[in-house]
């Protein structure tokens, strides 16, 4: 196992810049998930670590070794492809043992190692089959087995679960996680599915348009997204954004919506100025529908999505679509006017101008928050 370090990595095809100044340090044994929308360069980044793509600038280190000029076969890493890339003319056993076969490891030894790995993945019964006689989940496991067999310095996963159905995906996700805990291996995992990213990662790196947007532990990314892109991309259903302006109302900093509603700020924020245009983000689980009273915003229900375990209510507020997520079932109907209560503790403020998050300052006094809350509550 080894660490992987990317320094000022950049790449362009012809005139198009695909990756810009990527700096990531992956610790030994860390599970890093690269996540982003399709076309953001995450697969390209993974393939350049593998050596399947030529980088245009910067350095890649695996352990202490600079591997820029090394061929894929000399980098000692293994990769699980989205298509699995199993050799169709070889049995499962030969597929898994192929890396050892080409290294001329004695046949008996290959057989032993493959049998061991196959057992750990539940493939022992399938060793004689050809890939085409396997189900999607089994192929996926063979592809992982092939990667494990030779104890590489790191594993690269390129959207490995995207060809599986929803149930199998959940199951394989757990298996990959268990695998990581067992092998304690360095894993770089690419996905566009932010649920996979949240559940698997020790650390998430969010990419967009070839630029690292934010890197950090999953919950930190979820709780403190660094910019509008990360805020909108991570989380499902995704964060709501309301266009507001900073004003002072009764000696209290407030966000005023275009409809004139006011949201008092309960925290202190860095670089916050009166008159500033703010995109106010709030997660769907932090809005609730009031049974009575006025709440913070008055909106109209546009659609309901009950999933059984929860309910998503879509509301139209001043032409903006707000999603409300609740574990309780509401008795709303479409076109009904509702009062929405926002959890003001959970507002995310982003500058409209730069798209960046306004950092929350630590509270000056212990009871300051409570004070502000009481004042905010008195409006109702």
């Amino acid at each position: 196992m080894a660490s992987i370090t990317l320094k000022n990595l950049s790449m362009h095809f012809d005139q198009i810049q695909v990756l810009k100044n990527i700096n990531i340090e992956m610790q030994q044994g860390e599970f890093v998930v690269l996540v982003g929308p399709s076309g953001c360069g995450k697969s390209t980044l993974l393939r350049s670590i593998a050596g399947l793509e030529q980088i245009s600038g910067g350095d890649i280190f695996i352990g202490e070794t600079r591997v820029n000029q090394l061929a894929p076969k000399d980098r000692d890493i293994s990769m699980v492809f989205q298509s699995y890339a199993l050799y169709p003319h070889m049995s499962v056993e030969r597929n898994m043992g192929f890396s050892l076969e080409v290294q001329k490891v004695p046949k008996a030894e290959i057989k032993k190692i493959v049998a061991e790995v196959a057992k750990s993945l539940g493939l022992s019964q399938l060793l004689d089959r050809k890939p085409k006689a396997l189900s999607g989940g089994q192929r996926q496991r063979v592809a992982m087995g092939r990667a494990i067999v030779r104890h590489p310095k790191a594993f690269l996963f390129d959207e490995p679960l995207s060809n599986l159905d929803a149930q199998l995906r959940v199951q394989m996700r757990l298996e990959i996680k268990a695998l990581h805990q067992r092998l304690k291996s360095t894993i770089v995992y690419v996905t566009h599915d932010q649920v996979e990213a949240m559940t698997l990662a020790d650390r998430i790196v969010v990419l967009n348009a070839g630029v690292v947007q934010q890197g950090g532990p999953p919950l930190e990314i979820y709780d403190r997204p660094a910019n509008l892109f990360v805020a909108g991309f991570m989380g499902s259903p995704s964060m709501n954004f309301i266009k507001t302006q900073v004003i002072i109302e009764r000696e209290q900093l407030c966000l005023q919506t275009t409809g004139g509603d006011k949201l008092p700020l309960v925290h202190q924020y860095q670089d916050l100025e009166v008159g500033m245009q703010i995109s106010c983000g709030i997660r769907p689980e932090h809005i609730s529908i009031l049974d009575s009273g006025f709440g913070h915003l008055q909106a109209r229900v546009s659609a309901l999505e009950p999933t059984g375990i929860s309910e998503q209510v879509y509301c139209d507020y001043q032409g903006e679509n707000l999603c409300i997520y609740s574990m309780q079932r509401s008795d709303c109907r479409e076109n009904q006017a509702v009062a929405l209560q926002l959890d003001l503790q959970q507002l995310h403020l982003f500058s409209e101008q730069t798209g960046l998050r306004l950092q929350q300052l630590p509270a000056a006094k212990g009871n300051n928050d409570a004070d502000q809350l009481r004042r905010a509550g008195s409006r109702e």
Partner: protein, 305 residues
């Protein structure tokens, strides 16, 4: 009773109609196939058992297996059979290996690849009579360059026309045939190469395989079905292919370059002995059928393995 019997009868008629109907729709194709393929084949077969000599028109009639008996004591028939074997195997070997090499080269990215691809396929488009004539000239020391090169390389003692040397003459048409047949293998194998998923090569590269291992363990198995079918087709075509030999040597000197098809052609159209020619053609057909059966058997064995 009558009222019961009528429906049963009409039921039978409907069944018969339903059975015959598809053949009615197929009949144009069936009639054409019967007219242009089956009839000539049967007529050709029947010639093999008759005496049909245009120079001896009143000596016709059925002769049974006389032609086949004559064949086994015909020394030219056996030398033609041996030549056919040489001609086919040597041509096939070089056409295939050079064609595969060319396909591998053309499967890489390089500047001007499209143009080179188009040029490679050119020999296939040149009429065989034209290429036969051109090669015959190339082997002629008075106007051609090849004898001079060969003598400079020490392959022959002095620049003479190998087409007039009974020992070497067959190699003239073989060289022309190799040149002519490479594009076929290049085209078909290139198509097969392009159907190999690129991520298999990437997976193999990450698994640590050397280029040679990738070729042997990934590329060749993928090409195997295509190789089997093209080699089979090509063998039959080459074995049946007399144009180049007729144009370049006419089977000479002294029948030394006669292959079965060219010998059949000469027998039929020079000596005007259609009966004997047909008998040899039937023999060639049987040999090729045997070869094809063996190859198909091998192929299905390979596919199972």
């Amino acid at each position: 009773m009558n009222t019961l019997a009528v429906p049963i009868k009409s039921q039978q008629r409907i069944n018969l109609q339903r059975l015959l109907e598809p053949y009615l729709y197929l009949s144009p194709a069936l009639i054409i196939i019967a007219l242009i393929i089956i009839t000539p084949t049967i007529v050709g077969f029947s010639y093999a058992f008759q005496s049909i000599e245009l120079l001896n028109p009143f000596n016709g009639g059925w002769v049974g297996l006389a032609h086949f008996k004559a064949m086994f004591s015909d020394r030219y028939f056996f030398s033609a059979l041996g030549n056919t074997l040489d001609w086919t195997l040597i041509s096939l070997f070089f056409q295939f290996s050079l064609g595969l090499g060319l396909a591998l080269l053309l499967n890489r990215n390089f500047f001007g690849r499209k143009l080179v691809q188009a040029l490679v396929f050119l020999p296939w488009a040149v009429p065989t009579f034209l290429s036969g004539l051109t090669w015959a000239w190339l082997f002629n020391p008075i106007i051609g360059i090849l004898p001079h090169w060969m003598s400079n390389l020490g392959m022959i003692s002095e620049p003479y026309n190998i087409l007039s040397d009974p020992q070497l003459a067959l190699y003239g048409p073989i060289v022309a045939n190799v040149w002519f047949g490479i594009p076929f293998f290049a085209i078909t194998l290139l198509a097969a190469l392009q159907s190999v998923p690129s991520d298999l090569y990437e997976a193999a590269a990450l698994d640590g395989a050397t280029p040679w291992q990738v070729f042997v363990k990934i590329t060749l198995p993928f090409l195997a079905p295509m190789i089997a079918i093209t080699v089979m087709l090509r063998t039959i075509w080459i074995a049946n292919f007399a144009d180049l030999i007729i144009v370049m040597t006419s089977g000479g000197p002294a029948n030394s370059t006669q292959t079965l098809p060219s010998y059949i052609f000469t027998t039929a159209y020079r000596r005007l002995d259609f009966g004997y020619a047909s008998a040899m053609a039937v023999m060639l057909l049987i040999l090729l059928l045997l070869y094809t059966a063996i190859l198909l058997k091998m192929r299905s064995k390979l596919a199972q393995a």
